[in-house]
Symmetry: C2
Amino acid sequence: MEYTEGGICAAKGFKASGMYCGLKKSPADSGKDIKHKNDICLFASDALCNTAAVYTQNKVKGAPIIVTKKNLEKSGSKAFAVIANSKYANTCNADSEEKAQEMCALVANEMGINQEQVIVASTGVIGQTLPIEPIRKAVPELVKNLDYGKNLEAATAIMTTDTVKKEYAVKFKIGGKECAVGGMAKGSGMIHPNMATTLNFITTDCAVSVKMLEKALGEIVKVTYNCLSIDGDTSTNDMVSLMANGLAGSDEIADESEDFEIFKQALCEVMTNLTRMLAKDGEGASKLLECTCSSAPDKDTAITVAKSVVCSSLFKAAMFGEDANWGRIACAIGYADAQFDIEKIDVDLRSKAGVICVCRSGIGTPFSEEEASRVLAEDEIYIDINLNQGEESATAWGCDLTYDYVKINGDYRT
Amino acid sequence: MEYTEGGICAAKGFKASGMYCGLKKSPADSGKDIKHKNDICLFASDALCNTAAVYTQNKVKGAPIIVTKKNLEKSGSKAFAVIANSKYANTCNADSEEKAQEMCALVANEMGINQEQVIVASTGVIGQTLPIEPIRKAVPELVKNLDYGKNLEAATAIMTTDTVKKEYAVKFKIGGKECAVGGMAKGSGMIHPNMATTLNFITTDCAVSVKMLEKALGEIVKVTYNCLSIDGDTSTNDMVSLMANGLAGSDEIADESEDFEIFKQALCEVMTNLTRMLAKDGEGASKLLECTCSSAPDKDTAITVAKSVVCSSLFKAAMFGEDANWGRIACAIGYADAQFDIEKIDVDLRSKAGVICVCRSGIGTPFSEEEASRVLAEDEIYIDINLNQGEESATAWGCDLTYDYVKINGDYRT
């Protein structure tokens, strides 16, 4: 298992393209420091892909979610291509569903494929009408420009308040054949995934049955994206899609074989790294927070406790202030919705500058404020919670709460 | 039902006192603009009170919560006095429970009452050792200074990051006798009550049985404090106590009579007003947010939807920015954990400057951004959600998310 370049194009047979079509304000007009101006992208596989997807559990579902779900149902979970735009969520408008369908139809017509084999995704402001004309003009160009090395063009097109593009890929072997799993993701606010997170697209050239893709995606989403929170707000447009085109030439994974375990390991590595990138680039974030809850009686308790800590506004603000106010960790552990004995818990705060022990058996331990300041000055902070009452562990990711989060979200639509 | 001055001393036979004993830094040393320097208070009734209390559901319970609960169990829900301090939560230290007990004993000895008839409460930093010596010195003076008009001395002593004291009282008649219900509360962060909220003390001179006090408190907490959220963090030290000394001379309320309804109405008015004060003075808040969900299929759905909106960090930040980004309301309604039809929902944003209609039947409606800016420039914003699918309604209270929230909580302990 080895890191490789290429993001969604790391796997054989996946082409991408991206461009600026006029949905976002031009960098000159926006008055903001926008480093990424692409606002629409397309990616496609040379061969029809077995596909799995998970969607937001928000009852307000973006039209792209509704259309993608219907398409994959009709196509028997087969897809050729994904079209995605930023700036408009295409959600809560009277014509949203019609426009999401048109986006699929435009791609299908131009590529000569079936409309149901297209996935559509949108991210941006909810409730503002998506201008379709720029997309109509852009699609022929996007199709013409599809290329194996253009993953970056696509990864930048799905950025909204993201400050960095998010891509990760690994290569590995299955049955002697070189395979890859790669992905791209966008953050960075309205992130508190429930069964999925904001736009995430994963590709692989392994041959995997739809059933096993769904199984792998479900398992890994639970311990990666679903353990991420930027601000506690579950978006209306969250989606993860996983497409497998089989072009690596490996035998199809159709049951819980050793090959399936290797594939899951690769998928987990890609999704964990994308999750960390999403957390680190959370809106306004200055620090990544990674909380691991170990020795829990069961996996769900470990997840619930770890998430409760990274979701606490008070703890997040304390981390921004580099203040070792561990009482806020104790408080967040205490209101986690799970059953465990609070009097057995140990807590450490850790970074590459060192470790401070703040709590043993539920009681505060004295620590040097000076050393704590040094530990918390780093930009990646680890919170280690040992429940001392079982064998299971889980990690959750988040970020600090900063002035910039408030600034960005006080004035998001302009 | 009429507003009256006097807070916890509005009801006959309740005396209070408060002072600075040295727990807080002195205003000169703190380097902060502290308008309230009292840090300890006592209040007491001339007659033994029937008492009801509700406590935080956080699994990490402050020692004062544990001790108060035991005391009221032992005393048969009877209390004479309440001692409360700020600055230290007296929670998660090895000697916390012992010190909470000592605080009760100090008061009991000085007043010549039973230790189990004393309620103790603490608010402040979790996990830092409470200095008991200043409290030992303070108690005799607190007892000596008890007086009927000193409610303000007490109300200021429980303030932490609160910027204003919070008191409310009403007077009314039961069976021809003049009665009062009054209360005081402290905020202003770590507020997301679950069965109770941060320190709240209510007094009345009505005669009410313990059973009916508990019933009234349970019912009213559910629709007042439990519908309040500043930051989603449920404190370890939340408590509401309700003490009835019967000195108004009215007949005891011992069942669900007409008198009970009058008493509940008075209690609801006091607790609703304290809830609004807590929301408006939320840490760093510049605006009160009051969200009413009407025409819901049931009460719990109405509460869940209204709370979901006032809890959304994204919506709170948008309100700080005076940005009518109603998609964030739609998003928060959508992830509320309740069952309802999203396509019937209407949403208005309202203040004393006017009303803007932003959503009808789940679809965005065009509105004037200029008018929206005028409406949102006010410091009390009302969000009216009509589910159009039932008869029940509920209100939730919160505040905007501001730079100052981050500032206060980045550096809370110093």
